[in-house]
């Protein structure tokens, strides 16, 4: 029996816990102190953790079930939109047009009443459920159709990409009722707490860290369960698993849906910390970028995915600020490097450098 928390996961969770406790404390230090953390960095760190959570979500379905989704950005964005809609409603009459019912962009477009799909989003619990349910439902329906007709491998990747592309085009339309090109922004507060207050930011950051830790534990629990073993079997030899009598599509749909809901959760936590959600999040390129986080960290490791996301996103922030022209070269180079030289990512590299005790469970053929 594999332990729920092995060494790697334990170390990561401990580090996460330490950061979660220390970072808010560091913001309270006097600004002269060397350890002082400017409070504007808190939402940034929260954003990184959201990406890490997104990477864990993708790793769960790609690393363990072999479902390379190039559309996970869509689930992330849908979760974000659900939360954004709630924050939009919470602005209430404080908007530019001071309409208590309609968000600004609807007034601007000359709409007189709220579209039906915006009903209920004035309640936080409803928005929170939707942030999980909408991506989950989409993934369930999509996965149900795809896996039942045995669409897998690159075909699945291509149609998930088409899915997020279609959503991108749809959300760009003004008459969809999601703010069109500009998306949703100008949020004021959440549950009555101002989004610009340092305490709210810290609370959101801590919540994100808890969500990340919790989802990693959940994903770990899934992968070490019996179902997790079947998933790995599906990944490595789909037809054989089917011949052994397992209903491959049920396992795949299950893990795909759970993964999409995690992505939705990441999106929902992302939006209040970043302050905007727009259709650009649906861009296929974003979804492919998530893949490189996972690939760089090491797929099928969960911890690796989270680390990969943090490393790449930090690299991106640094490069786009200092050498904007180099970022795409670096990202492209990373893709090539990872596929050619690091098939098991950074964690795989560590495993290889260590004296080998047991065969790592993370060998992944295509």
């Amino acid at each position: 029996m594999t332990r729920l928390i092995d060494l790697r996961l334990g170390l990561f969770l401990a580090a996460l816990f330490a950061v979660t406790v220390l970072a808010p404390l560091a913001t309270t230090l006097p600004s002269t102190s060397a350890l002082n953390l400017p409070s504007y960095l808190i939402p940034l760190m929260g954003k990184y953790l959201c990406y890490a959570l997104l990477a864990v979500a993708l790793d769960l379905c790609w690393g363990y079930a072999g479902i390379l989704s190039l559309g996970h950005g869509a689930f992330f964005a849908l979760g974000g939109y659900a939360m954004g809609m709630h924050l939009m409603r919470e602005i209430g009459a404080r908007g530019v047009y001071a309409n208590p019912e309609l968000p600004d962009f609807m007034v601007f477009l000359g709409w007189t009443e709220l579209p039906w799909f915006w009903y209920g989003f004035d309640m936080f619990w409803f928005a929170a459920i939707m942030a999980l349910a909408v991506p989950g439902l989409l993934a369930f329906v999509f996965g149900w159709f795809a896996f039942r007709s045995r669409v897998s491998g690159v075909y699945l990747s291509i149609i998930t990409q088409a899915l997020t592309f279609a959503l991108l085009l749809a959300f760009f339309r003004n008459d969809m009722g999601f703010g069109g090109n500009n998306g949703l922004t100008d949020f004021r507060d959440v549950l009555g707490f101002s989004l610009s207050a340092p305490s709210t930011r810290i609370a959101l950051f801590v919540l994100t860290a808890i969500a990340l830790g919790g989802c990693m534990l959940l994903a770990r629990a899934i992968t070490i369960s019996k179902a997790g073993k079947v998933l790995v079997a599906v990944r490595d030899a789909e037809s054989r698993t089917r011949f052994l009598g397992y209903r491959v599509e049920s396992y795949s749909v299950f893990v795909f849906t759970v993964s999409a809901m995690m992505a939705g959760l990441a999106g929902a936590l992302y939006v209040p910390q970043v302050g905007i959600i727009n259709p650009g999040e649906f861009a296929p390129a974003n979804s492919i970028e998530i893949v490189v986080w996972v690939a760089l960290g090491g797929r099928g490791t969960l911890v690796g995915a989270a680390i990969g996301a943090l490393v790449v996103v930090a690299l991106k922030s640094w490069l786009t600020a200092n050498f904007p022209d180099l970022w795409l070269f670096a990202l492209g180079g990373l893709f090539i490097l990872v596929t050619l030289a690091l098939p098991n990512g950074l964690l795989g590299l560590i495993d290889r450098l260590k004296p080998r005790k047991a065969k790592p469970a993370t060998e992944v053929p295509a």
Partner: protein, 536 residues
């Protein structure tokens, strides 16, 4: 009354002989009589001027119409005076001689009123309708059709009678019919006119007949209604034809973009996400060739595409071989890794082009021989679109022949069907792989040359096509060139037929959703390859 026969004879003489006398008058004599008499007399003279057929008549009437025809007090010469109050210059209307500046009170204007202006315009219309230059005759007839006036009925009838050019006569006949409708001629003539107009294209029918929809005569109103309805249904048919044409042209663009993928993905099984960027490289090759020609030998600009086509094929093909040897070769049998690796290549190519050429759109010119348009009925076919349709068909069938009848094609098929066996028979599989990938890339380069004619050449050019071309290949059935062909054309046409009622974006979404659902239903595409292999 004893004098009656005499007056009759006199009147007869006047009626018959006078026109001859009048037409025998020269332009000079007529113009000299212009300042005399009242406006009605002038109108008569204007008509006579028009009938002289003198080539200078038009400029005289034009000057008169603008109120710029004046008579010099000193010598009685007729001049055209232009310029502001204190800075007037005169030109002799008859000889065109420049007479330099004139003092303000040294000339006397020939006055015109609105009624006279109308007759001048009619006279000018007649003049240009009979102009020796066919282009001006046509323009005059079309102008007359646009603003029909009852005054022109006779002039147009006369012009029709002598016209020899069929196209101009058609235009004149229509203009005549429109003028008849505007006149108070009897009902039969108007009904005939409606029939004549009804045969013209829908736009003319609408602009001419709409005003008579509620004509006083019920028969006329009915005939007009019928003609309008007929024109509308004809227009609907033509717009379907137009949609079909746009669809085919979009389809051939998709075909061009997808053929290269059909080779790398369909035949080799390699997912090449850098395909769009290879297309972009082809477009930039065209741009560079044109820049070099523009700066060094602008007179050869017409050949720029002829140079760019082979160059793009070789250059982009070479890039493809490099990608295959450098990256893809190591990833055979691992499709998902190939996908990621080539995505990396695409990012690098995009940024490289952005660094070299800048992020803005580049202007790629269309050679003269390709611009222009053909009109078939109410369908306009523009040069670049026709060229692209023909080009993509050429590329497609060329590729088909290559695959089927050349030694290389045979080796390629052998390697993809059974690699170890092909190797055993002495085929250098690595070599064939590299060339096949290079071929797919080269065709992407060709697509780039074609797309540079109709799309913005920017570093993002390829991104717009990559998802579409993958869907085309997957929809058509992997490994099947004919499937790709059918898929590209049918998707292009479907897209254009959806656009009018769903809008461009929604139409595209509908297509995407349709393909997503279709793949669920038939994962192997429209024309799946038959075989016994079960995967895994």
């Amino acid at each position: 009354m004893p004098f009656r026969p005499l007056t009759l004879i006199a009147a007869f003489c006047l009626a018959v002989v006078l026109p001859f006398i009048a037409s025998a008058q020269t332009l000079e004599e007529l113009i000299a009589r212009l300042p005399d008499g009242n406006f009605n007399d002038r109108a008569a003279i204007v008509a006579q001027i028009a009938e002289t057929g003198d080539p200078r008549a038009a400029q005289v009437l034009d000057a008169l119409l603008e109120g710029e025809l004046e008579q010099r007090n000193a010598d009685g010469r007729f001049v055209r005076v232009t310029g502001s109050r204190n800075n007037q210059t005169a030109v002799d209307v008859l000889t065109g001689e420049d007479l330099g500046p004139v003092a303000r009170r040294s000339t006397e204007a020939v006055r015109v009123n609105n009624a006279l202006r109308r007759s001048i315009r009619t006279a000018l219309g007649v003049l240009t309708l009979m102009d020796p230059d066919p282009a001006r005759r046509l323009a005059a007839a079309e102008a007359a059709l646009r603003s029909p006036s009852a005054d022109q009925v006779d002039a147009l009838a006369e012009a029709m009678a002598t016209e020899t050019n069929a196209a101009i006569r058609t235009a004149q006949t229509r203009a005549h019919a429109a003028a008849v409708l505007a006149s108070d001629l009897p009902l039969e003539a108007k009904l005939d006119a409606v029939a004549v107009i009804g045969a013209a294209n829908a736009q003319i029918v609408q602009q001419t007949l709409n005003a008579y929809r509620n004509a006083a005569e019920p028969e006329l109103a009915e005939a007009v209604g019928e003609a309008l309805a007929a024109a509308e249904s004809r227009q609907r048919m033509w717009s379907q034809a137009q949609n079909l044409w746009f669809g085919l042209s979009l389809g051939s663009v998709l075909l061009l973009a997808a053929i290269g993928l059909a080779i790398t993905f369909g035949v080799m099984g390699v997912i090449n996400l850098a395909h769009g960027e290879l297309v972009m490289l082809g477009a930039y090759t065209t741009y560079t060739v044109q820049q070099v020609i523009r700066t060094n030998a602008p007179e050869y600009f017409g050949y720029s595409l002829a140079i760019a086509i082979p160059l793009a094929f070789l250059l982009v093909g070479a890039v493809g071989v490099l990608i295959e040897r450098g990256i893809v070769r190591h990833l055979y049998g691992r499709p998902l890794e190939t996908l990621l690796g080539t995505w990396g290549v695409s990012l690098i190519l995009q940024q490289a082009v952005r660094s070299i050429y800048g992020p803005t759109n580049r202007e790629v010119g269309t050679p003269d021989w390709m611009s222009g348009a053909w009109q078939i009925g109410e369908l306009t076919l523009t040069g670049p679109r026709i060229a692209i349709v023909l080009f993509s068909l050429t590329v497609f069938f060329g590729l088909l022949l290559l695959m089927k009848y050349s030694a290389f094609g045979l080796q390629m098929r052998a390697v993809t069907q059974n690699r170890p066996m092909a190797a055993n028979l002495g085929i250098r599989t690595g070599y064939v792989d590299a060339l096949t990938f290079g071929l797919g890339a080269g065709i992407a380069g060709l697509a780039g040359v074609a797309l540079s004619q109709i799309d913005n050449v920017s570093p993002n050019l390829g991104q717009g096509y990559i998802i579409d071309s993958f869907l085309v290949v997957v929809f058509g059935g992997v490994g099947n060139l004919w499937g790709t062909f059918a898929a590209a054309l049918s998707l292009g046409v479907a897209n254009k037929f959806l656009e009018p009622w769903a809008g461009a974006v929604l139409g595209k979404i509908v297509i995407l959703v349709f393909i997503i659902l279709f793949i669920q239903k038939r994962p192997r595409g429209l024309f799946p390859q038959r075989g016994r292999a079960a995967e895994g």
